[in-house]
Structures are given as C-alpha cells and as structure tokens.
C-alpha cells in the first residue's frame, strides 16, 4: 500500500474493504451487521463517510485514534471456517495504515 501523508484525514473505504473481503478464499457472503456486533467496546464517535451507508459491508468506525472494523460473513462449507475467518481478519488488518490503533471483529453467521 502506498504511504499517504494524509492518512489520518482519510477514513478507510468501506466499499474497498468489502471488495477485498469478498476475494478471500472461503468467503461466500457479506451480511448486515447484527445489533450486538456493532457495539464497539469503547464509546466512539463515528466519523461518517461521505457516501450513504449500505448494510452489506464492512463497518468502519473511528474516533480518529482507534479504528474498529466490523464484519459479518458467510463461509463455504468446503473450506475450514476458522481458517477462512482468520484470513478475513488478516486481510482487514493489512488494510490498516501503520500507526493506527485498530480492532477487527469478524463474525461468521452462516456456513453453506
């Protein structure tokens, strides 16, 4: 990823992250967040991105210092789910710019 001097000012792009998750081996679906899942442990003020939020994607919330990435996925029955989930988490971790505090939450809600 190209280093960017203005990283702090640019929130992570949910569409881009979602597209990356779809390419992860074993992922079959991305689902809307469940009510309990989007509860971020710390109280954060979300910086809403310019585009209207659609539901089936990675949810990015940040208070400027800490970024929380949350996603619900469906995985394939032909691939080991713990491995798939780990791959999704790693993909999201890789997307976080250096120096950012971040948490990644991935829930598998369907295996088919």
């Amino acid at each position: 990823m190209t280093p960017n001097a203005n990283e702090d000012a640019q929130p992570l792009d949910e569409d881009l992250l979602t597209a990356r998750v779809y390419t992860v081996d074993g992922v079959t679906d991305v689902f809307p967040p469940a009510p309990t899942l989007t509860l971020i442990p710390q109280a954060l003020t979300a910086i809403v991105t310019g585009s209207p939020k659609r539901l089936n994607r990675v949810n990015v919330s940040t208070d400027g210092a800490t970024t929380a990435l949350t996603i619900r996925v469906g995985t394939s029955i032909d691939a080991a789910t713990p491995d798939t989930a780990k791959r999704v988490a790693d993909t999201l971790l890789d997307s976080i710019p250096d120096g950012h505090d971040a948490t990644v939450t991935v829930q598998v809600s369907r295996i088919a």
Binding site: P32, A34, T36, T75, I77, A80, T81, P82, A85, K86, A89, L93, A102, T103, V104, T105, V106, Q107, V108, S109, R110, I111, A112
Partner: protein, 197 residues
C-alpha cells in the same frame, strides 16, 4: 321459526345441545339422545353440515387464486433479517486486536446439513450443551433425528455421529466431548398427506 332462538326439537333438545354432544364425540353416552329418532336425525344432519363446511373450505383452498407477486418473498425477507444467531462461539486468532466468532445458529444449521447427507434421516432438534462461549470448554451435542425410510438404525446413527464430529472439527473450535443422537419413530416423520408416497 324465530330466528333469534336456538332451534328446539319436539323432544325438547336444542340444536346447541346436540352440537355440543357431537363435539364431545358422543361421550359420555346419553341414552336420551341416542334412543330418540328425532335427535339421531338431527345429529346426522349436523355431521353432514360440518363435513360439508370442511368441503367448502377445501374447495376454497383448491380454487384459491395465487397471492400477489412477492407475497412469499416479503415474508422470507423479514424472516432472514431476524435470523436466530444464538450465542457467539469464539474462534482463535494470534493477534490481540482481533475478535473472531461463529454464531450458534450457523453451527446448528451445519449440524442439520450433516444430517441431510445421511439418506433417510431428518434432523429435528439440535442442542449445544455447555459453555460454548468459553474457548476449550467441554461441549455435548444433542440431536434428535427421525429415520424416514427403512434404514438400519445403528448404521445411520453411526454415520450421522461421524459426520457431526467431522463437521464440527472442520468448522468450529469447539471441544466436543460427546454427540448424543436420539432416533424418533419412523411414522411420525412423514406428514399425513405424504404417507402413501
């Protein structure tokens, strides 16, 4: 006939009484009714009307126009939105910033799929007993299943148990200590309309 009064037979019994007697399957046996020809005629008439009414509704169902487009889909969309997730089963990840989990609902569906692979078997209820939210805690799986076709029960049970163990080992991080399978009666598995098939 006075429309506002329940009809009374010459013998003194009312249609309402006879209707209640019929609804109770004619028990306990009431000789004053069963020995009275007028009552017996009325009971026969009531039975016929009742049967006719069921025929009427059956006819309604046969002639039923299809619902509007998307009637069915609208119901299912709402249901999918409320899908029962159940508890959150942890999955491992070395990085402390990461929280991975699997829903109990997904695992129950997985177990049902394991049952679907075994021919002639239909899984009914599925239960994960134990503290599934704690990594490594012992978990007992309980499943009820019905044998639908003429399958030997021990073979089917053995196969199902193997499938379930394998599925859970592949897709979860659960510490499964037992898989308990209860096979229910064959004749309860089929719906009444399909018993002849």
């Amino acid at each position: 006939m006075n429309e506002n009064e329940p009809r009374t037979l010459n013998c003194g019994k009312t249609i309402e009484e006879l209707s209640a007697y019929l609804a109770a399957d004619r028990t306990p046996y009431d000789p004053s009714i069963e020995a009275c020809p007028e009552c017996l005629n009325a009971l026969q008439g009531l039975t016929r009307v009742s049967q006719l009414f069921h025929d009427l509704i059956t006819q309604d169902v046969t002639d039923l126009p299809a619902p509007r487009e998307n009637w069915f889909e609208d119901i299912m969309t709402n249901i999918h939105r409320e899908v029962r997730s159940g508890r959150s089963l942890p999955l491992p990840h070395p990085d402390k910033r990461v929280d991975l989990s699997l829903t109990e609902g997904a695992v129950l569906a997985l177990i049902r799929s394991a049952g679907d692979i075994v021919p002639g078997l239909v899984i009914g209820t599925c239960h994960l007993k134990g503290n599934v939210e704690e990594p490594g805690a012992p978990v007992d799986v309980s499943v009820t299943a019905s044998i639908v076709w003429n399958q030997p029960i021990p073979d089917a049970t053995r196969t199902l148990r193997t499938h379930i163990y394998e599925a859970l080992a592949t897709h979860t991080a659960l510490n499964v200590t037992s898989v308990n399978i209860t096979i229910k009666d064959l004749h309860r598995a089929l719906s009444d309309e399909n018993k002849e098939n």
